[in-house]
């Protein structure tokens, strides 16, 4: 290190601080500095007669194997956290969001009518089902593809997954309450004509027996 020589020449004028003290100084400067610091800058900041280069060597050795390292970047020095500890610098935040209304409705239709095609979902919902909604449910692994339907075009169907059952605490999709039960639980607010509701409930029971038939009439 070329800088090493200069202070020794001037040593006669000022007593330089002990090397351990110089090491402390370099440590503090490297810690607090917003940019990497060159040896020249260190020497300029430290008291007369100091040898930043030598102090740095000591410091580097001291931090070997520690959680923090002294590294050289260009011709300047800086302190950095050890690479193997980078996982500590990540903070995983888990954000819980409510599922969108479209997603809930789509999921509900799949659960009640599985296996069900996209066209059938759209027919029931009365609006088109966005690709994103289905993708989201697939990604969450709450639905999956069922077997293709034996109708023209052989469309894919969707069914719910064991994850879904797990999430909603159900033994099987058949445990989902029918409309009559929903109403008696106060989940249906408007009262449909009695004949229609009975029909729907019957339809539900039918679909429990053989869901595939539901849309093939």
């Amino acid at each position: 290190m070329s800088d090493t020589q200069t202070p020794e020449i001037e040593e006669s004028l000022f007593e330089a601080p002990p090397i351990a003290e110089q090491e402390r100084m370099v440590e503090a400067v490297l810690f607090a500095s917003a940019d990497p610091v060159t040896i020249a800058e260190l020497n300029a900041r430290m008291p007369h007669g100091c040898d930043a280069g030598e102090a740095l060597v000591h410091l580097q050795k001291r931090y070997e194997g520690r959680g923090v390292h002294v590294i050289k970047t260009g011709n300047a020095y800086a302190m950095r956290t050890a690479g193997d500890l980078s996982f500590l610098m990540q903070k995983e935040t888990v954000e819980t969001r409510k599922l969108s209304r479209a997603a809930i409705e789509t999921l509900a239709i799949i659960a009640y009518h599985q296996p069900v095609t996209r066209a059938e979902i759209e027919e029931i919902r009365g609006v088109s089902v966005s690709r994103g909604t289905v993708d989201q449910l697939l990604e969450m692994e709450w639905i999956r593809f069922g077997r293709r339907k034996m109708t023209p075009g052989r469309p894919v169907t969707f069914v719910v997954t064991p994850d879904f059952l797990d999430q909603f605490g159900l033994e099987s999709a058949r445990d989902l309450p029918g409309l009559k039960e929903l109403r008696s639980a106060g989940l249906l607010e408007n009262r449909p004509p009695p004949s229609l509701s009975d029909a729907l409930d019957e339809e539900r029971e039918d679909s429990d027996e053989n869901q595939t038939e539901l849309f093939e009439e």
Binding site: Q90, E92, L99, I104, E105, A111, G126, G169, L179, L187
Partner: protein, 272 residues
């Protein structure tokens, strides 16, 4: 009462005829020059108390009151504008001074002069103490001046993971919403006992052509609207309104011979 205040009380007796030293006067006058630099009357009192060169606990409150009143006098002579709280303090100190000098009146209620004086001494001591610790606090090693934070802080990378939640209730309500959507119909008032003007008009248009002579409009009421009083009232009103409409169209004429007499209607002859 603390021993300190007893001592202070002794001072007051001694001070009764004591004159302010020249030095005190100088100090008091110096204050006047720079009123703006002071933080309120308590600050002035604290500065004045320093001229007594004693521990704040042994301060002569009477002398202090005198010094302060003198200061206010001077300020008035120099026509300096003193803030209201300086004057309030002056009034209070004048009161305190009289309490301290006059023998205590046993019938008088409220705190004694000594108690008031002791509290003022306490306030001064407390303010001084606060100033001392404030100075000690500010003299401490300070962040960013004496000790420093990490210059290149490594930002914690936030890995955001989103999970979606939905309950069975959400699911069932969602399904119920879809399955019952078709059963909604817009809210309408059920008005089966209301005979509308349009109905009356339609009814009368069919009949008016045959009515060449004056006929009571009540005879135009449809048969099934004549029995039930509610229905009858509604039909009468509608029929009357429809009659007016026909008159307006120039198809009929209306007349009434007197108040509450029957209203009569007949076809208007198309002369033109």
């Amino acid at each position: 009462m603390t021993p300190d205040t007893t001592e202070t009380a002794k001072d007051w007796d001694g001070d009764a005829r004591e004159r302010l030293s020249v030095e005190d006067r100088m100090a008091a006058e110096a204050l006047i020059v720079d009123v703006d630099g002071y933080e309120g009357p308590l600050d002035i009192l604290l500065s004045l108390s320093r001229t007594q060169k004693v521990d704040l606990r042994k301060i002569s409150v009477l002398q202090l009151a005198r010094q302060y009143l003198l200061f206010v006098e001077r300020a008035k002579e120099l026509r300096l504008e003193l803030a209201a709280d300086y004057l309030v303090m002056a009034a209070w100190l004048a009161f305190l001074k009289s309490r301290l000098l006059l023998p205590p009146d046993p019938t008088e209620e409220g705190p004694s002069g000594e108690e008031l004086a002791a509290h003022l001494a306490f306030q001064l001591e407390r303010l001084q103490a606060m100033r001392d610790v404030a100075a000690r606090l500010m003299a401490r090693d300070r962040l960013g001046r004496d000790f420093f934070v990490r210059g290149i802080p490594e930002v914690i990378e936030r890995v955001r993971k989103v999970t979606y939640s939905a309950t069975l209730l959400d699911l069932m309500q969602g399904y119920a919403r879809i399955r019952t959507r078709d059963e909604f119909r817009p809210f309408v008032m059920d008005r089966d006992a209301v005979y509308t003007m349009e109905e009356a008009l339609g009814h009368m248009r069919g009949l008016i052509g045959f009515s060449g002579k004056w006929t009571d409009i009540s005879s135009y009421l449809p048969e099934d609207w004549q029995k039930d009083p509610i229905k009858r009232r509604s039909a009468t009103a509608a029929t009357f309104a429809a009659s007016l409409e026909l008159v307006k169209e120039g198809k009929a004429e209306l007349r009434q011979s007197g108040l509450f007499e029957p209203i009569e209607l007949r076809r208007r002859e198309q002369s033109e």
